[in-house]
């Protein structure tokens, strides 16, 4: 497979995952805003921006709908939802002949929908929120479209090297996003170990789970009793839940191994080593140990490892020096 094609598929997938994640965070927080809260609204929106990696062009000005509009539509902000969808579609267009027609149509119609002027108009009036239109409907539709795209990808594209690059992009993005999300909430949820959430605090904690689509899955495992350790255990270390960090890293590792087998790269030891080490360290970690140590430092170390995996993928498959390729 051409390196450029792998690069485009990888980024197409990352951008869509990013768009979906941002849409979900925004939707959850707009919903929480309707209730009284133990924490100030400033704090909550700043926390959401933190979870999105504090995009440089996005500032909290005190108006939630303005923030929502900017985060959704501001194309000068490269991490806005619409920017991400445009970028994903642009990547797909560059490799149009590599993906299935169904995939292309799904992504292209999402692009046409989110860039149409009518959509922007619906988001302009705050009042629209009261009538079930407005941001919520749009965000739900966007998330749904991304999910459909992933379904179409799985059922219409050969699960070969290209598909594996799509998986790798998706799970690496998801692992990074979950790590950042936990980091943003670390002070509020794990700052005070003996806290039992009640009322509005309970609502805030379910918000965290909802940000990772994890509330129902959590309840199935632990019932609706929320404790801070269990939340951390679930979002960080659960082996079966697809948005947990461990699940993401395991999936990433599998995709990277599949890519290595198909492309016959012999110099993949470094990539195997760092992805395997991260996967193993999550597999054998205990939540008590993590909480006795420095949680933020732990999460940041995971993020650094994700970054190193990304760079190694690039060095190995996409942006390798010609001299080494000629020698090997």
């Amino acid at each position: 497979m051409l390196s450029r094609v792998a690069d485009s598929l990888y980024w197409m997938s990352r951008y869509l995952e990013r768009a979906e994640h941002a849409a979900r965070l925004l939707d959850v927080n707009l919903n929480l805003m309707l209730d009284e809260s133990s924490i100030s609204s400033d704090h909550r929106w700043l926390r959401m921006l933190h979870a999105l990696g504090n995009p440089s062009r996005l500032k909290w000005s005190g108006n939630a709908y303005e923030l929502a509009r900017n985060l959704t539509f501001d194309t000068s902000n490269k991490s806005s939802i619409v920017s991400c969808i445009i970028a994903a579609r642009e990547n797909a267009r560059q490799v149009r002949e590599q993906i299935s027609t169904e995939q292309w149509q799904k992504l292209n119609s999402l692009y046409i929908e989110v860039t149409s002027p009518q959509v922007k108009r619906a988001m302009r009036t705050d009042a629209a929120a009261d009538f079930g239109g407005g941001p919520t409907a749009f965000l739900q539709a966007a998330m749904e479209a991304v999910h459909q795209f992933q379904g179409v990808t799985d059922s219409t594209m050969s699960h070969g090297e290209g598909w594996q690059f799509i998986q790798a992009g998706r799970y690496l993005e998801r692992a990074t996003a979950t790590g950042l999300l936990l980091e943003a909430y670390s002070e509020d949820v794990w700052g005070n170990p003996d806290c039992v959430p009640e009322g509005n605090e309970y609502l805030d904690w379910t918000g965290l789970l909802r940000c990772a689509t994890a509330f129902e899955a959590y309840c199935k495992v632990y019932t609706a009793d929320l404790t801070s350790e269990r939340i951390l255990e679930f979002l960080l270390l659960d082996a079966e839940f697809p948005h947990s960090l461990r699940f993401s890293i395991d999936s990433l590792k599998h995709s990277l191994q599949a890519i290595q087998e198909r492309s016959g790269k012999t110099r993949a030891e470094e990539l195997n080593r760092i992805s395997g080490r991260l996967s193993a360290s999550l597999g054998f970690a205990s939540v008590d140990e993590i909480l006795t140590g420095d949680l933020v430092a732990y999460l940041q170390s995971i993020q650094r490892q994700c970054q190193a995996i990304h760079e190694t993928i690039y060095r190995l498959y996409v942006d390798y020096p010609i001299q080494t390729a000629l020698a090997g």
């Binding site: 051409l2 002949e97 790269k265």
Partner: protein, 490 residues
């Protein structure tokens, strides 16, 4: 054109109304008033028997099919919404088997002669020594590449793919308007038009016994394979595209997919020690044949335009070393220069000793003083073309121009006569089209695609382009043209 004869009579059962006035241009459907050409009878019967809403329904089905397949082209010079659907007309253009046989023989003769001409001017230059073609015409051509001198190209084939534009004069004779020997495009429209047509009018299609064209991509692949460097039995063939912003990107992706070859861009290619490779996830892979859809100028920044990022540095030297084949070869544009065009009949006689089967359109060269004066005196009647331009750009259509435009062109012609030629305004043939909900005649041309590998092959028909604006003679997609399916009968 302003000489409308009475409207052809409405057939009593006609569900689709007519707005069909004949003029002096050749009409593909009517030989004269009420004289329907025989091969158009079933078509017209079929169409007029269809209720109007049914016809519109099928038209919409065709449009939707194009939209969903993303069959688009890019219009330059606009920021957003740059992808457009190539307009498509529902009525096929029909060519009889006898008409086609002559066109085919003529095209084979022409490409054979032009190929011999290219080989000659880049090697011995016999035709220049014989004085048949003036040296200054060849050496002053923008597309002449001295880098090609003395180079032996595989099988001596310079023009692997060519798209020749034909028009029909008022007497119905097919003549050559232009040879496109560099990177002709449009073949994907020919193929998708056919696919849509077969789906929408299956019965009519079966009745007509149309010659197939679907084998084109396979023939193209075979042509490219036959040009591989020696000693490469399993050649790696790729299609080199300028990328997603090129107007014909859809076609590049389509052809690559249909042939099952990689679509590469310049940044995917690396040349090392005169061998061309592409970057893959499993390392560098050698490339043997490049079907390039990038112009000469942009292929190699070391040899041609140094600001190009569409090609690969060193590619030309790899080509000269015989390690990779490029199709078409470099420098083929000298043979489709509009001034050289005037010499093509002589070129055919010189190399093949035959009379041209397909004639040229009468052409005035502005380099010849007598002809230049004639052109300058008759600017309002002639079509003036810049020799290096294509796609309908850089043209003056005298009958539709203002005095100011004509003055500007006269100035340009005097300043640089080599750059201009002129031809009489030809009212080329018209075919019935569905415009809104009526049948109206529109001007059409024909671009057959000629392949030259171990032999010359032409799929029957080609792309029929339509000037969709009433009275317009411009068929280019960038300027309001559309296309229709072309049926060659067996």
């Amino acid at each position: 054109m302003d000489n409308p004869s009475p409207e052809a009579e409405r057939l009593p059962q006609a569900a689709t109304p007519w707005n069909y006035t004949l003029d002096h241009a050749f009409d593909e459907m009517f030989a004269g008033k009420d004289q329907l050409r025989e091969h158009y009878v079933p078509l017209l019967e079929h169409f007029t028997a269809l209720p109007q809403d049914e016809l519109q329904r099928r038209k919409q089905a065709a449009d939707l099919s194009f939209l969903n397949q993303g069959i688009t082209f890019t219009v330059y010079g606009r920021e957003e919404g740059t992808e457009k659907i190539f307009p498509y007309d529902l009525l096929p253009r029909i060519i009889t088997s006898a008409e086609w046989a002559k066109v085919e023989r003529g095209l084979i003769q022409r490409i054979t002669a032009l190929n011999l001409f290219l080989r000659d001017i880049y090697n011995e230059g016999r035709i220049l020594k014989a004085g048949i073609v003036p040296r200054e015409i060849v050496y002053s051509c923008w597309h002449f590449r001295r880098q090609m001198s003395g180079l032996q190209v595989p099988r001596n084939v310079y023009i692997a793919v060519c798209g020749t534009d034909l028009i029909r004069l008022e007497n119905g004779e097919f003549v050559v308007l232009e040879d496109n020997l560099r990177v002709p495009s449009g073949v994907s429209y020919m193929l998708t038009n056919r696919r849509v047509m077969k789906r929408i009018f299956p019965q009519l299609f079966r009745e007509y016994n149309v010659k197939p064209i679907e084998q084109y991509t396979q023939l193209l692949l075979g042509t490219l394979r036959s040009l591989a460097p020696e000693g490469r039995p399993e050649p790696n063939i790729v299609l080199l595209s300028p990328g997603v912003f090129n107007s014909a990107y859809f076609e590049h992706a389509y052809l690559a997919r249909q042939m099952g070859i990689e679509l590469v861009e310049g940044r995917d290619l690396v040349v090392h020690d005169n061998v061309c490779y592409m970057r893959t996830t499993s390392g560098l892979r050698r490339v043997d044949v490049i079907y390039r859809r990038v112009d000469d100028d942009f292929i190699d920044p070391l040899c041609f335009r140094s600001d190009s990022i569409l090609g690969a540095a060193g590619l030309f030297h790899a080509y000269r070393a015989g390690n990779v084949t490029l199709a078409n070869a470099f420098g083929t544009g000298v043979a489709d220069d509009k001034a050289l065009y005037a010499y093509v009949p002589e070129i055919i006689r010189y190399y093949l000793g035959e009379e041209p089967i397909l004639n040229n359109v009468e052409t005035y060269l502005c380099t010849r003083e007598k002809e230049r004066n004639h052109v300058l005196a008759n600017l309002d009647k002639l079509v003036v073309k810049a020799v290096g331009e294509s796609g309908g750009y850089g043209m003056l259509i005298g009958t539709q121009s203002t005095p100011k435009e004509r003055d500007a062109f006269a100035e340009k012609i005097r300043a640089n006569p080599r750059n201009y030629i002129a031809q009489p305004t030809i009212s080329f043939s018209r075919a019935p089209c569905l415009i809104g909900d009526e049948l109206e005649p529109r001007h059409v041309d024909l671009r057959p695609y000629v392949l030259y590998g171990d032999k010359v092959t032409i799929v029957p028909g080609g792309l029929t382009r339509v000037a969709l604006t009433r009275g317009s003679l411009v068929v280019n997609s960038s300027q309001g043209g559309g296309s229709k399916d072309t049926w060659v009968l067996s």
